[in-house]
């Protein structure tokens, strides 16, 4: 079975046989989500050595799911919140809260032992695009996202950029660079800004342990460190954190039968 998670920024695809992950692939969503979905699926099939004719069922989730479902004639489409909760339980049976850190949307989900949603909160519009913001800051410094996170861990100062808006934070981060502040200290300020926005969102729902984190930003060690400190909770990063939605889409196929 295949799962597709067609997000604002990236399209993720995963191939699963019974409970075993065979392969996965990510491509940028671009403005043509349909062709990106086809490409991601093709790459995931190649990675797992499965033929497309062997696919029993495809489930789709993510921001563009309805478009993809219609145009690719896919049977199952589920909202990303539903899929992500299912995926989180699949990857960590004891988890009850998922903090999902996407390119454009951040959310926190609470669910039962079967991955059924209980509660959900999403970022407010002023904090849209935190993932995009993070990538664009890394690009501005001429490094990749992983390096930005690792540099932030080397910071010795405790600087701040705007507390509310990514556009202001970007402008302030650039001001710091222009003043000759070292990149690690600016990187650290950027990550703490993102973390503050995420934790502000998380205060409105009860965080029931175990708490797990997913999405592309979850791969940043520095971000997880700060988020854990600020929320005063232990956080576990799910394995393959960016595929939790795609995995959940596959599981949703299974429960349809």
């Amino acid at each position: 079975m295949a799962g597709l998670d067609v997000g604002h920024v990236n399209t993720k695809s995963i191939i699963i046989r019974s409970e075993e992950i065979l392969g996965f692939a990510t491509v940028p969503s671009g403005l043509k989500a349909v062709s990106s979905a086809q490409e991601a699926l093709k790459k995931a099939l190649q990675a797992s050595g499965v033929l497309s004719s062997e696919l029993k069922m495809i489930g789709v989730t993510g921001f563009f799911r309805n478009m993809i479902q219609k145009q690719l004639n896919i049977k199952i489409a589920v909202p990303e919140e539903v899929a992500e909760a299912k995926g989180a339980v699949f990857l960590n049976r004891n988890s009850r809260t998922l903090i999902s850190l996407g390119g454009n949307i951040q959310k926190a989900l609470r669910y039962d032992q079967d991955g059924n949603l209980i509660d959900i909160i999403q970022n407010d519009k002023c904090a849209d695009g935190l993932g995009i913001f993070y990538t664009s800051m890394a690009k501005a410094f001429g490094i990749d996202e992983h390096e930005l996170s690792e540099l932030a861990l080397k910071s010795t100062k405790h600087l701040s950029v705007a507390i509310h808006c990514p556009a202001s934070a970007e402008s302030e981060a650039i001001d710091l660079i222009c003043q000759g502040i070292d990149i690690p200290d600016v990187a650290d300020a950027i990550l703490r800004f993102i973390v503050e926005r995420i934790s502000a969102m998380c205060t409105t729902i009860p965080l029931e342990p175990e708490i797990v984190v997913a999405g592309g930003l979850a791969k940043s060690r520095a971000l997880i460190k700060h988020l854990s400190l600020l929320l005063k909770h232990d956080l576990n990063v799910l394995s393959t954190p960016e595929y939790v939605g795609a995995i959940g889409a596959v599981i949703s196929c299974g429960s349809e039968k």
Partner: protein
């Protein structure tokens, strides 16, 4: 990558009296211009990483093209948001003063309003016929990073930054986006894609919103003719046309082959030339850095 330079073959620096340079360390890219006896001789451009490193890189790039060394350059003026980090600069001048100096040099004394639309910030500046600043307005934070958000938008839509401006002309009708907050506009543009709005309409809508945002800034300071646009966004025809439509004005178009991103560095080099002439003739120029209203 985005580095290029051009040598003015008609000039021989070995016989020149004055060799000066202007270095513009912007938030997104760094530029350098060398003047030989007051004439543009060479320029270069690199992406800004950290200001100090980028200032050395852009200076080395322009020198490498000419066979000159740093010792040959008598006077260097640094400008741009990273001007404080340029180790070899003799003097620092704000990008506001340099923008009008460069613009009036290129377009002539009729210029009264200069819009400098860069990667991180936008500035509207009023000036005299001699290029002296009389008033200016900086964008507020909500509108910062328009140039960079264009790059991000191009990346998200898998298009080249140089082509998205013209794609915005492929449609006449398009939906409205928030035109106050760049974060909202970007997020709403992504929403449009989900709603199956054709790509060229989304791109047009985003350009329209950004153009309106910049036009509001110009409107707040007031528009005096003649009007020119410089900075990286001046190369985006979609933005430029949008601004002209909103403000009901035509900008002066470039008569020369100058890249609009280099005008501020040119202005800095012109200041360097002036200062060096003063030094040579023994006229003491005040060593005050950071003069905005120079003159």
């Amino acid at each position: 990558m985005s580095k290029y330079s051009l040598k003015n073959g008609g000039l021989d620096w070995k016989r020149a009296e004055r060799m000066v340079a202007g270095v513009d360390i912007g938030a997104v890219s760094s530029k350098a211009v060398i003047l030989v006896d007051g004439q543009p001789y060479a320029f270069s451009q690199v992406l800004t990483r950290t200001p100090k490193e980028s200032s050395l890189k852009v200076m080395n790039a322009v020198l490498a093209e000419t066979g000159l060394t740093l010792e040959n350059i008598s006077y260097i003026v640094a400008t741009g948001c990273g001007r404080g980090q340029v180790p070899f600069a003799h003097r620092k001048i704000t990008e506001i003063a340099c923008a009008t100096a460069g613009a009036v040099h290129l377009w002539g004394p009729s210029v009264r309003t200069v819009l400098d639309a860069g990667g991180q910030s936008c500035r509207v500046i009023h000036c005299t016929e001699r290029g002296r600043v009389t008033d200016f307005l900086w964008n507020d934070k909500c509108a910062s990073g328009i140039g960079r958000s264009m790059e991000t938008f191009a990346y998200l839509s898998k298009k080249e930054i140089s082509e998205i401006g013209s794609i915005s002309f492929q449609t006449e009708t398009f939906p409205q986006l928030s035109d106050f907050c760049t974060v909202y506009a970007q997020s709403e543009a992504l929403d449009l894609i989900r709603d199956n709005v054709p790509i060229e309409q989304v791109i047009a809508a985003f350009h329209q919103a950004m153009a309106k945002r910049i036009s509001t800034l110009v409107g707040r300071l007031g528009l005096k003719k003649d009007f020119v646009i410089i900075g990286g966004l001046a190369k985006n025809q979609g933005i430029v046309n949008g601004i002209e439509t909103f403000l009901k004005v035509s900008r002066l178009t470039t008569k020369t082959e100058w890249d609009p991103m280099l005008i501020v560095a040119l202005g800095a080099a012109l200041y360097a030339d002036d200062f060096y002439k003063g030094v040579k003739s023994g006229v003491s120029t005040s060593n005050k850095d950071e003069s905005i209203f120079s003159g």
